[in-house]
Assembly symmetry: C2
Homo-oligomer: 557 residues x 2
């Protein structure tokens, strides 16, 4: 599919009607600029899948046009797909200093750091791509060094907010560039793409500073060790933990691979200030009085292999949660993770720890990094765009975001609620949503990328629910007679020992199926297999109300 030149086109390859794998693109004439390349974690229906990344077929087909990948910030749902992307499209990557640090960790792991061109930008950068000039503005979020982007195109200015909230009292001096945003809006914005994660939540997002106050309070109150779990990438919160440790004269232990790695990046690059001598190894914990130790760890989402899960079952050698230790969840559970988090809380209570937890900001130990309705309305008001595309959210969030846009004066018809792959074309200042480019989910399973699709997943689903029954028959080629078997083997179906009668009957049925076939049907193993599958399937369903996968195998000798 090719595009009329002098049309400005905007589309998403991920991030619409979903939370995760954000990837947006702007195309004009011979240039495509890509914004972010995230991943997404599969839900339980995607059996065995490790990761979902955007399907970038369209970009690969238009390889020569892709000029750059510009990254708004360093969260997984914005950078997690980058190594897979770069292996197919080796284009320069533009990101801020901290974001680049996190991207480098990934590229090292995938062994493609050296061949990648990484270009550091800041909110003051000015990039020039033929017809499109690109500027930036700083936004607050739950990770340092986040950008919103302005694309100055021949059709007018397009703004992409990145992920943001307005935090007027941030815990660092990283303020939103609110004056710059106002200036952009004053000049006139043709199209705004703004994130929608919290479009359902009324009010304004609380400030990160509130969390710091609660952390200090909890550290002061704790009579023994304090464990605190949060996202490693939330470096401003990590800084608040460091500050609380300093105030209460505690040494700090880092547990969990991503905590150790990300903290190292943040310290190296000047985003985190840890007093000399504060960091100790977990082996030193028992050398200190319990009220002189704090442990900062991964696993706030209940991930079964992360530090906190292992601490909660006493299986983290060297670090133990003991009675009256305090454990703080400084992150709310992401939808879908509630059960895993709850299990850990149960285990920690059983260890007689004091556990501080709660959904969302209920415990005071977490605030969202995504703007609530008032934040979103402020962005819409500052930018006062002609056209609006709500991005980064499930359908209901995009829908609610449209209502917010309407409430601040953006005409309903000028808001486009799109799916991944839908294209908005702008010509002569007028936008229309008409066509679609191919896109979707690419599954990563083990090393394989895209080698598992719908058929494999359908089989896994059947196997997972009712197991399978392999039926082996040996037939003589000459006489078309059964010479050995049937042998049946089942897995994941029922206890075989308790089901001898069932399997005896299955064998009888198979022999009957084979004998019933007459004439030419007898020659066709395919017909024979179908007949076995049908008769055995019906019998087992009647007897057990289960539908195992039945796999007849015919050996011809």
């Amino acid at each position: 599919m090719s595009i009329t030149s002098n049309t400005l086109s905007i589309f998403a390859l991920g991030g619409l009607s979903e939370i995760g794998k954000n990837m947006y693109a702007i195309e004009y004439d011979n240039d495509i600029l890509v914004i972010d390349c995230g991943n997404k974690f599969p839900d339980e229906s995607l059996l065995g899948i490790d990761l979902i990344i955007p399907d970038i077929t369209y970009l690969v087909e238009n390889k020569d046009k892709v000029r750059a990948l510009i990254v708004t910030h360093g969260h997984e749902d914005h950078i997690g797909g980058i190594p897979f992307f770069l292996k197919k499209l080796n284009v320069p990557v533009y990101a801020t200093r901290f974001t680049l640090g996190l991207i480098e960790l990934k590229l090292k792991e995938h062994r493609i750091l050296r061949e990648t061109e990484l270009i550091e930008i800041s909110s003051d950068s000015d990039l020039d791509f033929e017809d499109i000039r690109v500027n930036f503005f700083r936004v607050n979020h739950s990770i340092p060094d986040c950008l919103g982007i302005v694309f100055h195109t021949p059709e007018g200015d397009i703004v992409h907010t990145g992920d943001f909230k307005f935090d007027l009292t941030p815990s660092t001096n990283e303020h939103s560039d609110i004056h710059k945003m106002a200036a952009i809006g004053t000049k006139g914005v043709l199209l705004l793409l703004s994130e929608s994660t919290n479009a359902e939540r009324p009010g304004a997002t609380p400030s990160e500073r509130i969390v710091g106050e609660h952390i200090i309070e909890a550290f002061l109150k704790a009579e023994r060790k304090v464990f605190l779990s949060t996202f490693a990438s939330n470096i401003n919160r990590v800084q608040q933990v460091v500050d609380a440790a300093q105030i209460t004269n505690r040494k700090l232990v880092l547990l969990g691979r991503s905590m150790v790695n990300v903290v190292a990046v943040a310290m190296e690059r000047g985003y985190l200030d840890v007093p000399n001598g504060m960091l100790i190894e977990k082996e030193q914990i028992n050398d200190l009085p319990p009220d002189k130790v704090a442990i900062l760890c991964t696993g706030s989402q209940g991930e079964p292999m992360a530090a906190l899960a292992r601490l909660s079952t006493g299986s983290f050698r060297g670090a133990e949660v003991l009675p009256n230790d305090t454990v703080i969840f400084a992150a709310g559970p992401i939808p879908g993770n509630e059960k895993n988090v709850s299990r850990i809380i149960d285990n920690l209570f059983a260890l007689r720890a004091k556990v501080i937890y709660g959904s969302g900001s209920a415990s005071g130990m977490h605030v969202s990094g995504h703007g609530y309705q008032e934040d979103l309305k402020l962005m819409l008001t500052l930018m006062k765009p002609k056209y609006f595309i709500p991005i980064h959210g499930e359908y209901r969030m995009l829908h609610q975001h449209r209502l917010l846009a309407e409430s601040v004066g953006i005409e309903q018809d000028n808001t486009f609620i799109m799916n991944n792959g839908d294209v908005v074309d702008i010509e002569n200042g007028a936008a229309r949503q008409t066509r679609k480019i191919p896109t979707g989910n690419t599954y990563v399973d083990g090393i394989g990328i895209g080698d598992v699709g719908e058929i494999v997943l359908r089989d896994r689903k059947q196997l997972s629910e009712d197991g399978m029954l392999v039926v082996v028959l040996t037939m003589s080629k000459a006489e078309k007679k059964l010479v050995s078997g049937p042998d049946t083997i089942s897995r994941g179906f029922v206890y075989v020992r308790d089901s001898e009668e069932l399997l005896t009957n299955v064998n009888r049925l198979i022999i009957k199926s084979v004998n019933d076939l007459q004439g030419s049907d007898r020659d066709q193993w395919k017909v024979m297999k179908q007949s076995i599958r049908k008769s055995v399937g019906q019998y087992l369903f009647k007897q057990t109300k289960k539908k195992p996968m039945i796999l007849p195998i015919i050996i011809e000798i």
Copy 2:
């Protein structure tokens, strides 16, 4: 295991450290009285399992002692296991009129209604079982006709609260027997078993009446059809919907099997008052103006086959959600159901419906039936028991409930946080938790009860994540030589067409494995299978990072 007579024993066969399958028992001398017999729905880790019920081995072993099953109320987690229980232990079932109606629906389905002795009781009933006399008190909950139970034993009085909240302004005249509870407490309670579902939530549970007010408001505001989804068993809420329909002059359609069945039971037994002519069939919807119709349906938990899910995808013939119709979720999502509920909301917005939803009581369309902390403290205060067992909840809820008990003056050592199977024995007024009876989960899968266990589930898990590879070899008995094959068949592993090279290499490896076996190892198919499993497994893991189940089958001819 037998019990010293003149010891009073209390234990749970379900309901502790879990939400679901509630089942408690009191044993004294030659009598066992059982309270409730619920089921529980499996989480996604229990692949293919339909239902979990309590393991009642202990009761079956002590069959002759079991005198009665007494049921506190008609929710699934209190009655869902009854048919399975009665098939093994045909004892009389005691329950209130409405609860019996729901139990009868189940027994009919399982075709055991006729042989079951059902005995109707009320909050005024007085039952006599040799050494134990049983009385009741009425409690508020989210279903009509709920009971708390007092067991007058030779050791003292034991109180089981059932599920409860204190609703001082209920939507019907079914008030809690608060004076009776006070009298019980005044007389002296030896042991209280009280439910813990909302022990983590501060404050008092809002009144059901609030929901009625919001429903009327939404019905008045709706310009077209109104769909409302709630639990069928919440008959007081159904009554409020009926009232709202009457006020706004709408006809009412019932959609979903359980809604139709439970409403019929409630109407027959006098728990629901529906004006003559209000109920219409779904075929009549289009004969009426849209603002004269309301639809009450199942599916508030996002169940994929229930009415609301089908409505949201336009696949419910005869009933359609059209633009500007109103859809009300009058039930919060139970933890674990959020994703399914969200998907339906997304679909309804895409149909351009107005959707009223929200977690918990945020939308005003739902209140919990379980008491919050202040309700629980009131119960503890009224009963002022010597001993306390928090029941009906995950570990953290039981833990929080203990803290609440402590806050109103119950000594920490007198509270027992127990697991299913743990026994509290009371002798001479003193309670100790010492021994355990065998119990656990019984899985229902299809027709089978208990025929699927850990091994089958482990196999299902492996099959679900990485699929399988069947390897068939035909070996000559005489020469111990490969005469045909290897043939490989995979399912749920990778796309076979894209993996020809992989499978060719697997075949080579298998031949090598067979040829490498020397001497007597060659005779032992078991050794050969192990060797194939190992070499193929290692190769596939190296190539794909997946671990499919490898099933070698050797045919001997």
